[in-house]
């Protein structure tokens, strides 16, 4: 009898109190994922409102101040409350399973991180209920716009407190991840045998250590400026708004990689499974992740080229360099698929969608790393298109890939494949119809963060197309929700390893029991479950 078949499903404890007090990493992971998807839903609705306002010139669906709140909450929610926390939730669920650990190193700290994240998000959104409305200075909340002289409302304060709590939660989670991976690996699970997703989370955690304290410091200083008479960012008092930008982007650019490295890990797990091949260039993928993480700490001021206060050639050169390890990863993924026996299940479709969209976002990223082009494109819809291709076309597609791939492990049921493919095509078409025209809008001179625009050039047509695309994306998300509902009534259990996958989480039951494993298979490579399935190909223990 195989090790997998010997395991029993977890006994469900479904009462509310058990969820409120849980310290089980799998439940905390599911709480993280559910909460971040809730915030995604809210942020998505805000995006629909934004696109509806921009569907035609001089529209009056919302006024300018409301529009500013909409794009601020949309950006804040997508970045601080969805894309990055979803990765933390996924890692919470997967990381101990992938390394054969019974739980996180610090289970109670882990639960505390989740609750801080939940409360932080709610506090950010609570600003919308105040008299002056929510924060309205964009997800960057640049000073002096966010100083008390200009932004007098409570919404800005609630934004500061909420985002601060989320940043603390993220740092605590990163401590947990690194400690767990370094200390709690199962016997035989050497560092060079841990799955790529776990490696990417180690790199992400290091980035969080280095970047998030700068954000926390920035927010504290802003709070001191607003309420305790400080002048750190107030030029009238001798402060420097440029300092705010330095601190913010010292966090902000690595944050882009906090939002993408985990998803590199996701598709590095999925592509080999659906190509029926081992990952091509395991070591190269790991080294590339750390090269990206390291270089990303030295490029923050490419967001500040147009301030005239930074050394453009230095940051331009460093930004170009990041394309090299990213290219290495692309070749690894293509090499994995090359001559593989590829099947186009929904997780694979979303992974391929990730590759196509992220490639486009990456290429425009290289373009705007060049200061002359950046001076032209800065603060225009070209940048909006670029960042959405990276974080929407990239991370979002990997998020859906992860949901479809690991859903059976989390809940013991597969999502419906037909609805999954429909969801993919609606999202893929809708996404590209929405964001591809934005490149042209930007080049035609449409600035970002404006609530209306003149009827010149092709702007009216392009905006109408983009808005139509956003509605198609909404349809895709609704199909996913319907898929979840339909699959909840599916009583057919899937077993431990429905995809014939490779890494250790597939060696235990679906869903896994408390403390994860009744019995571990021998770990002799980065594919222990494959090795257990194919003992005739068993690698040497000393390898």
């Amino acid at each position: 009898m195989s090790a997998q078949a010997a395991l029993r499903p977890a006994a469900p404890r479904a009462d509310l109190l058990s969820w409120l007090t849980t310290t089980d990493h799998k439940r905390i992971g599911i709480l993280y994922l559910t909460t971040s998807l809730f915030y995604f839903g809210v942020a998505g609705l805000l995006a629909v409102a934004i696109r509806t306002q921009l569907s035609r010139p001089a529209n009056t669906f919302v006024d300018a101040h409301t529009y500013a709140q909409l794009f601020t909450l949309h950006g804040t929610a997508m970045i601080f409350l969805f894309v990055a926390p979803f990765a933390l939730g996924l890692a919470n669920f997967l990381l101990p399973l992938q390394i054969g650990a019974p739980d996180m190193a610090f289970p109670r700290l882990n639960a505390t991180s989740y609750w801080l994240f939940l409360f932080g998000g709610l506090i950010v959104f609570s600003g919308a209920a105040t008299n002056e409305g929510a924060a309205a200075n964009g997800w960057t909340s640049y000073a002096p716009l966010s100083e008390i002289k200009i932004s007098t409302g409570l919404g800005q304060d609630l934004w500061i407190v909420g985002v601060f709590l989320v940043s603390v939660a993220t740092i605590l989670t990163a401590i947990n991840f690194v400690t767990t991976v370094f200390v709690y690996r199962a016997p035989g699970m050497t560092m060079w045998r841990i799955p790529i997703f776990t490696w990417e989370m180690v790199a992400t955690s290091l980035l969080i250590f280095m970047a998030f304290p700068a954000l926390a410091a920035d927010l504290l200083l802003l709070f001191v400026d607003r309420h305790l008479g400080g002048h750190a960012f107030d030029p009238a008092g001798g402060g420097s708004p440029i300092l705010y930008q330095h601190l913010f982007w010292f966090f902000g650019h690595p944050e882009v990689y906090v939002m993408i490295l985990p998803y590199f890990g996701v598709i590095s797990e999925i592509i080999p499974v659906f190509s029926r091949k081992p990952i091509f260039g395991y070591t190269g993928l790991v080294l590339a992740a750390f090269a990206i993480a390291g270089l990303s700490m030295g490029v923050w001021a490419h967001h500040m080229f147009t301030t005239g206060a930074v050394d453009d050639p230095f940051f331009s050169f460093m930004s170009f360099l990041i394309a090299v390890p990213t290219g290495v990863k692309f070749f690894n993924w293509i090499g994995t698929m090359w001559r593989g026996s590829i099947s186009f299940a929904t997780p694979m479709l979303f992974s391929l969608g990730f590759l196509l969209n992220f490639l486009l976002g990456g290429i425009t990223g290289v373009m705007v790393a060049s200061p002359p082009i950046d001076f032209q494109a800065h603060q225009s819809y070209f940048i909006v298109a670029h960042m959405h291709y990276v974080l929407g076309g990239g991370s979002l597609f990997a998020i859906f890939a992860a949901l479809f791939f690991w859903w059976p492990k989390m809940f013991g049921r597969k999502l419906n494949e037909g609805l999954g493919k429909l969801c993919f095509w609606l999202l893929f078409i809708g996404f590209n119809v929405t964001f591809l025209p934005m490149h042209v809008m930007g080049l035609e001179g449409m600035p970002r963060r404006v609530f209306t625009y003149p009827d010149t050039g092709h702007l009216a047509l392009l905006n109408a197309i983009a808005t139509a695309g956003s509605y198609v994306m909404v349809a895709g998300v609704l199909v996913f929700v319907w898929n979840v509902v339909v699959s909840a009534f599916d009583r057919e259990p899937v077993g431990p390893d429905p995809w014939h996958a490779n890494s250790l989480e597939w060696a235990t039951s679906s869903p896994p029991p408390e403390y994860n494993f009744d019995r571990l298979p021998p770990i002799r490579s980065e594919r222990p479950v494959f090795d257990a399935r194919h003992p005739e190909l068993k690698p040497d223990a000393t390898q």
Binding site: I160, M210, F314, Y515
Partner: protein, 125 residues
């Protein structure tokens, strides 16, 4: 030397190099301070890892080990559930919220945090 230690040492070396290079190229104090502080933090972590690794004897670093080899060993103490995380997060959120809305809420949060601290002390005895 383990992979983890190599990782922290190489990260520390990289951050020192980049901080020095940035200062000589840009002569810009804010960024140099941030990079320098990052280098300091990573060097501290690498130093801690060197000390901690002397004490460590991890099954995960033994490529030939199996689950049977580690059988019976206490890996750690894991609580299945605890009210403390929700309590501590609610206390911290109340303090933060109270700072901008009402001192009374902050005071409630501070009291909850103090009670939590007392509970930790009692539990740790």
């Amino acid at each position: 030397m383990t992979i983890g230690l190599r990782l922290f040492i190489s990260s520390a070396v990289f951050s020192i190099v980049i901080a020095v290079a940035y200062w000589f190229v840009a002569h810009e104090p804010a960024g140099t301070f941030l990079l320098g502080f990052m280098a300091f933090a990573l060097t501290f972590l690498a130093g801690y890892m060197i000390v901690a690794e002397r004490e460590a004897d991890l099954w995960g670093d033994d490529g030939a080990a199996t689950g049977q080899d580690a059988a019976g060993e206490v890996v750690g103490t894991y609580s299945i559930s605890s009210p403390l995380p929700l309590w501590s997060a609610a206390a911290l959120a109340s303090i933060g919220l109270g700072l901008v809305i009402s001192p009374a809420i902050a005071a409630m949060g501070a009291i909850a945090a103090l009670a939590l601290g007392a509970l930790f002390i009692v539990q740790s005895r």
